[in-house]
């Protein structure tokens, strides 16, 4: 995936010129806040640029990420993000409620453009701990690289011949653009994107005869119960969740997994710990 070209598409000239200076440093995130300088996070380090973002810059990003059709992305905006070619643009603004339901988000004041990365070979030294595939939960605090690790796990299993299906609700795992999958996820992988996870899992079970189903950021009772049911039906689940480490799994009602990969960051380096349940 060419993240730089995608950034060029969604940032106006002023912001892109500022970001361009960091393109050789593995950009993780770009924070755009109204009236404040641009903040760029590269390889875990935070840089504050001189360029100050304004509301027209924010409007430009939203308009271009939505391909000039903000109305078609209303549901995504209500869920707090827009995706563009695998970039995930988180939004903060003022919520407008219609009764109990969130009907829109207006006055968007800050954006977080997350740039996905593909790191191959992160589990090369621990392959014997990861094979054969079992129900696996990748757990870490935000920003430690859960999705990158999940992508690698999918690729490894798929290339070993396991029929793998991905429920990619936010289009972050595969970074699908049209019908092209931008991240290599293996030879035996099928992807459903932009569909709520609970619905995607049941569709994949019915239609794709998967041996493995992978999904990102498991949360909420309905998602957990759908995944539990899928695991009970004999499918292997690969999932990620926010938490400190594998000891949080029980608190999150995610202790049915058989293998836990905890990720932590020490001195800018990611450390992976793999625990297999006996």
């Amino acid at each position: 995936m060419d993240a730089i070209n995608s950034l060029k598409d969604i940032l106006n000239e002023r912001l892109f010129n500022c970001v361009q200076r960091f393109t050789d440093q593995n950009i993780n995130e770009i924070r755009i806040r109204n009236g404040l300088p641009l903040v760029i996070i590269c390889g875990g380090k935070t840089f504050t640029a001189e360029t100050v973002a304004g509301s027209s810059d924010i409007q430009y990003v939203i308009e271009h990420a939505a391909k000039f059709s903000i109305h078609s992305h209303k549901e995504q905006i209500c869920r707090g993000f827009i995706d563009y070619n695998g970039l995930r643009i988180g939004l903060c603004g003022t919520a407008v409620n219609d009764g109990d339901k969130l009907s829109s988000v207006i006055d968007i004041s800050s954006l977080n453009v997350r740039v996905p990365s593909e790191i191959r070979g992160i589990f090369d030294e621990e392959l014997d701990l990861l094979l054969p595939p079992r129900n696996t939960l990748i757990i870490s605090p935000p920003g430690c690289g859960k999705t990158t690790a999940l992508r690698e796990l999918i690729r490894l299993s798929s290339d070993l011949g396991y029929r793998t299906s991905v429920a990619d609700e936010r289009n972050e795992i595969a970074a699908k653009c049209g019908n092209v999958i931008n991240f290599y996820l293996g030879r035996n992988t099928d992807v459903i994107s932009n569909m709520p996870k609970t619905e995607a899992v049941s569709r994949l079970l019915r239609a794709m005869n998967p041996q493995i189903i992978a999904l990102d950021e498991l949360s909420g009772a309905s998602e957990i119960s759908t995944v539990k049911n899928a695991a009970l039906s004999g499918v292997i689940i690969f999932a990620t969740a926010h938490g400190k480490d594998s000891s949080d799994a029980a608190k999150l009602d995610l202790d049915f997994f058989e293998r836990y990969i905890s990720i932590s960051v020490h001195n800018g380096k990611r450390v992976y710990r793999i625990d297999n349940k006996p």
Binding site: N12, K67, F68, H71, I77
Partner: protein, 167 residues
Amino acid sequence: MKSCAYVLLISAAFAAGFRANRIKRSTINELRDFKDMLIFIEYELGSNLPIESIFAHAAAVSKGSAKATAAELYSKVSSNARASMNELWKTALLNNCDLPEREMYILRELGTIIGQYETEVQTSCINAAVRRLESIITEKEAEYSDNRRLTVLLPPILMLLFLIGFM
């Protein structure tokens, strides 16, 4: 020789009258084309379609300068042009349509709402613009049918009077 020149002058005045008439007619037709395009866009927006598809469809079904405007917008939107929707909309109108300032203003203002967050806001603004265009078309058509003969005949009559006076 003189009479030949007079005939030529009167014919030229006739041609000018016909031309003025044709300009009025073409403005009405152009307004109709834009009105139809806006009605189409309003309908497609109701189905929550993305702007790119809406402009592609509008370019296929519209006529005249409305068709050219929709086609330009489709090409800019599909290539993710480095400008805001408002700028793209205004530029496309400027490049393709030749309407008087009052009518241009009505169309130009839609650039600020097309593709924005609320579908209902977009459709109601487009609907308001369509109603304003409809009343302008009705007004212009009435004016056209009342003054059609006068527009064609006035220049040659004036020319004839001028020539009689000159002789």
